[in-house]
Symmetry: none
Subunit: 404 residues, 2 copies
């Protein structure tokens, strides 16, 4: 069974609005001393009240046991198959620093690396050079290498040893092998076209690699060459508007999430750095859209650092600020995460995330708290994150009956 | 993973009997004043007792968020993929009034419509003419158009402006465009063959459309022509007997459900209009079959009308009558619905329906009531309706071990 076969025949445009709130990395694990998770420890009256008035459940981001990166975590939430719709790392790196990409462009993650005279990569990160040093090198390259064989080249600093490169021109293909040997002490790998249509791209990259080494040869930096990785194009997918007939907007303070939203064709609202800024933006654009993706980054960051108390604190802060949404009206609201980031693991994890769906047509269940263990008792049961968008469409009455 | 790949190797015929009771549109939503659903409001001691002695859960009719019509709602319950096994609207209309269909026949829904001299459809429903007027028109057409180019034509009254038409002959195909312009004030659309093999069917329908207009031209009726819609054939699927080795019978007072059962190859038991009649029939045919599909229509009708109290009343009535089943023995019994029809929505909905499976091998859980919220806590969890038949086979010990 497949939503794609059903949807075109039943979807309809209506005036009702949908809100998807993603608390990045919201799920956690019990603290060894208290036995309570971050959400169970936090004082989150708004989220708890929403849970009490909603249908609750848990969402598996990709598949049971699979820990998603931000890419699959979000493509799932947007209703795309996260395996079929993989966004290349080069594309994510570019979108993450707001470099615009066209369907024809090839996007690449770059590492400045230390490479000796014999072509051996002695340090894949060039001693993690400072971001300022990176900027100087990138300026030098930008000024000297603007085009190779008619292909325009844009290079931009990310941070430390990392940069992003975009090739722009016709007939480009990402099917090219990477030159990164993956470990220190090994020689640079040759850049090879993996099929006929990528010969041009491979020759441009071989030339680019060579010219960068020449430019850096006599510079006062440990960066003596560039590793080209995650060579990729935008995935060829149906846009959000085509797929769901939704006029959608992304409100996210972090570029990466704006980037993923752009890949699925959402409009990107200009917003500031904080959740207050985001909520202000949501109110400003409220009349212009019928789908709102509100991304809250902060809840993830302290999870990755292993700082349990700081994550609790940020969950409480997000809860207070989200309460300002009370005055806006939506046909359906989902609050969930893109994945768990338990502080005790200091990383993303595979654990399902709490989920609530609020709508006049949602049966409130007995769940009174927005936590991992309480939501697991909810009436929605355990579903896949990729199903949430279809529930949101249903609960806001945007789907006609299927079959007579 | 796919049942069809496993089943042929593990299914066995045994003496045990399976009963599938479908309470049409059984699921509901809370009444705004009481906060209780129709099932939660109703006094249903038999269903509650069954729930207390059974494994409970909820069933998603098609996919999360998808609201099924009666066709997909039932093909799912019969274990067929409701997306791959769509039953055309013409087929459903014919089966709904007990017109027998062969695999070769083309079935069509007809609307008598008002069409002016310029060929503009001024009223797609001919002012919803009375059923009696429809019968007179259908008699006139039947007497005058029995055959076109060797293709036999049967036309029958459904009600008001609606009729059903069957074409019988060799080499017929349903891949023909409809002449219904879909809105008043537009001209009739041309009937066109959509591929080579449907040219004959298209030319028959063009001639039929023309002759009907000639016949009605001088009649005293607003019906001046016919819109031909839902042109379809029986789906080409494995029969119930082939797929499950079950000798199955349908007991349903409404023709539509007898029709869907016939599509999957069930025998159709003669029965009366009421649930009492159906239960009497079940007792009569009990010795002759090993699978019984008992369909209870009434629970749906008041949901569609938005009459909460009447739906509650009919649930209570069904509960009293079902208690007469107590004396019959089955290897496994499932009680569920084909979809929800909340009175507050006045329509089918996507909400999962309560499900119980009763069998000596089913673990009773803590669920004591047959309601949406209680069954959601049951040991079966949330499954798809299309999985129920496999559980029924398993719980009645009709499936051997898979693999060594």
């Amino acid at each position: 069974m497949d939503y794609d076969k059903i949807l075109p025949g039943i979807i309809k445009k209506t005036d009702s609005k949908i809100l998807l709130i993603v608390l990045d990395g919201v799920g956690g694990l019990p603290h060894p001393e208290t036995g309570k998770t971050e959400l169970e420890t936090a004082n989150i009256p708004f989220l708890d009240e929403m849970a009490a008035n909603s249908s609750c459940g848990t969402a598996v981001p990709v598949l049971n046991g699979i820990t998603p990166g931000s890419g699959p975590g979000h493509t799932s939430l947007f209703g795309y198959d996260p395996v079929e719709t993989q966004i290349g790392r080069g594309v994510l790196e570019c979108l993450g620093i707001d470099i615009p990409l066209d369907k024809e462009d090839v996007a690449i993650r770059g590492n400045f690396a230390t490479i000796n005279a014999a072509g051996i990569v002695t340090d894949r990160r060039a001693g993690r050079i400072a971001t300022e040093e990176n900027r100087k090198i990138v300026s030098l390259i930008s000024e000297n290498i603007r085009e190779i064989s008619g292909v325009k080249i844009e290079i931009r600093t990310v941070k430390e040893h990392r940069c992003a490169i975009v090739l722009r021109g016709s007939g480009l293909s990402p099917n090219v092998s990477e030159n990164d040997p993956q470990k220190d002490g090994s020689p640079l790998k040759p850049i090879i076209a993996l099929n006929k249509s990528s010969k041009k791209t491979a020759s441009v990259l071989v030339e680019f690699e060579k010219r960068v080494m020449e430019l850096l040869k006599n510079e006062d930096t440990r960066a003596k060459g560039i590793l080209l990785r995650g060579i990729s194009k935008l995935p060829d997918i149906q846009s959000f508007e085509e797929k769901y007939k939704l006029n959608a907007v992304c409100i996210a303070s972090y570029p990466m999430y704006r980037g993923i939203s752009k890949v699925v064709g959402m409009d990107i609202a200009k917003t500031g750095e904080t959740l207050e800024d985001e909520i202000k933006t949501l109110k400003e654009v409220y009349n212009r859209y019928d789908f709102f993706f509100l991304h809250i980054k902060k809840t993830d960051s302290y999870g990755e650092d292993g700082n349990f108390d700081a994550k609790v604190h940020l969950l409480e802060e997000a809860d207070r600020k989200l309460s300002f949404l009370k005055n806006l009206s939506f046909g359906s609201i989902a609050i969930t995460g893109d994945h768990s980031t338990p502080a005790v693991m200091k990383s993303h994890s595979w654990h399902p995330v709490p989920l609530l769906i609020n709508s006049p047509y949602a049966i409130p269940d007995e769940v009174k708290r927005f936590t991992e263990r309480e939501c697991a008792k909810g009436i929605l049961g355990r579903i896949y994150s990729s199903e949430i968008i279809y529930l949101l469409l249903a609960y806001s009455l945007k789907l006609n009956k299927f079959g007579a």
